[in-house]
Amino acid sequence: MTQMDTMNETTHTHAELSEQFNVDEARVNWHDETLWWVRQKRDKAAWTLPEWEQLRETASRIKLNTLSDLNAYLKEFEKNAQKNGIIIHWALDGQEHNAIVHGILQKHGVTQIVKSKSMLTEECHLNHYLAEKGIEVIDTDLGERIVQLAGESPSHIVLPCIHKKKEEIGDLFHEHLGTPVGNADPQFLTNAARLHLREKFLTRRVAITGVNFAIAETGEFVVCTNEGNADMGAHLADVHIACMGIEKIIPQRKHLGVFLRLLARSATGQPITTYSSHFVKPQPGQEMHIVLVDNERSTQLGREDFRSSLKCIRCGACMNTCPVYRRSGGHSYHTAIAGPIGAILAPNLDMKENADLPFASTLCGSCSNVCPVKIDIHTQLYKWRQVITREGYSPASKTTAMKAMATTLSKPALYRSAGKMGRWVIKNMPWLVNNKLNPWYKQREMPAPPKMSFGEWYKKNRKQG
């Protein structure tokens, strides 16, 4: 699937895309187990700190304070960053963000750039926009470079090519980087990418990075990587452009202590990322820009039930723990940010296009339990379902079934006879439910029907007692 397919294909729902992913069961099991392993590493890292819950609560409250006073914090950040010599831009939406970045490139006459990981630029479809303007963007995070060579988008915000097997990566590198055919050794392939990308770092004059945290008090911003690609790009470029959503602000430098303790432990189980780089001023002779992007974040801020989704620090823990994500793959969410958090952010961007996503959940609540900033993700998934249904966007099959269910549940006599009928059907005509027309039967065996309903059992036993 190409990047454009995953972004713009409107006919494929989460369920349909999951079905494609589920064609190869062994592969789905591998995907599931790999992500669960990452989740277990997260648990081990969290358990090393007795104060873990205190940290989560504090992080949540710092973010709530930030969101409640965001107007003032944004202005404070802008003022301090400008004092540090950084040029600040404001973008209402993705289109304006892309145009600002393109304008900076035009000003410098640059047509080739490097970019480290930024989910915001994915959200704004920056690569596609710049490609149309004749600009070559090289993604420098290894996982992102791999999906870029494959013509895909990242399937996970922290582990962009978690859906790919090493043999496929070996084939891609053979085709694009000239590595020997059939070599799928991770060490060898990583070194090939290192050499390939080092040449890009050394020759590109503009580097784009994302932003993990921006400090209102000091005007500095922090970028976290394990590979060192953000720093290699930024320090070797004449121009550094950092792109951030307006919710990335935190009030003070000391608050980084809280967030950096949580971020990597939640993401991959590491005690901290290899590099936590604090950019305050441009290097001598260098130009530094920050693009502050709204793109409907201010709208989400106004939705009382959903505003706390803006607390997200993009660790990906909710994806690694999600039984639906693990078995449906990131591309099934057809948005830049997949998984449970993506499913509560996306309806704010486009309710109609993303109406299926809040339904792609069992509401088990595991996402909320691992979230380092205590976003009530599963509650918001449930609430989005109601908003989407009220607005008339809910998936058609679900609406019909739900209406039938509502009628049955609202009439006790009908409910009792429907229950009897159901038990009789499963027992005597199992093919009526065990068929391809019933989506619940996919990958499931129907249970043996009970002899009587709970209502009947209760009546009988109460008489006996």
């Binding site: 965001l70 290894l142 582990l159 090519c161 990583t190 303790r261 780089s277």
Partner: protein, 194 residues
């Protein structure tokens, strides 16, 4: 109204009633019996090496013995004799062939073995990233227990650029197989002075 004004107005209109900023004093942050030992264990766990040393002469001896002859070794530590000195007007791109870079660390954090280094001791920001191997010299007394203590140390500091470095550059993007040396150094050796 321009975009800045529109965004700020929309944020102001939609932001909820003010919520208080929590105090960090309430966090009962972890401390260790031996912060130096904890630092060593954590760094080794993430692929780094720690060498206990009495003075910086051991650093020079180590580099000369440990790495291949004929390669470029550089440092920003003025007292390290016999090793090429890098200063702040160095062209970053010309550091491409650096095999080993030796720099001073300001302090380290035991809980995650991250070492704080600022632009003033790096001279050229790209140095600890572009080298093949990184060597950091650290005073053993400068190890704090946790990140909160770390940020207390730099709360009011004026740096142009600063970075916490914890171990060699790494990636696990290919099937979660850990590989040291993604884009930056393939190894990180810390000389821990008394």
């Amino acid at each position: 109204m321009n975009s800045r004004e529109k965004i700020l107005a929309a944020v102001k209109k939609n932001q909820p009633a003010l919520e208080a900023l929590p105090s960090l004093q309430d966090i009962d942050a972890i401390k260790f019996d031996d912060a130096r030992e904890k630092f060593k264990t954590v760094l080794e766990g993430i692929g780094g090496t720690v060498i206990n040393a009495n003075d910086t002469s051991e650093v020079v001896a180590f580099v000369n013995n440990h790495f291949k002859e004929g390669n470029r070794y550089v440092t920003t530590i003025a007292t390290l004799g016999g090793i090429e000195q890098i200063n702040s007007n160095e062209d970053a791109h010309k550091l491409e062939d650096v095999e080993v870079a030796i720099v001073n660390g300001a302090f380290a954090v035991a809980e995650n073995s991250a070492i704080w280094i600022t632009a003033s001791s790096l001279k050229t920001r790209v140095l600890p990233f572009i080298c093949q191997h990184l060597v950091v010299v650290l005073q053993g007394v400068n190890i704090v227990h946790n990140m909160h203590e770390g940020y207390e140390k730099i709360a009011g500091e004026n740096y142009d650029y600063g970075v916490f470095i914890a171990g060699p550059s790494k990636t696990a993007d290919i099937e979660q197989s850990l590989v040291l040396g993604a884009h930056g150094p393939k190894s990180m050796t810390v000389f821990l002075l008394p």
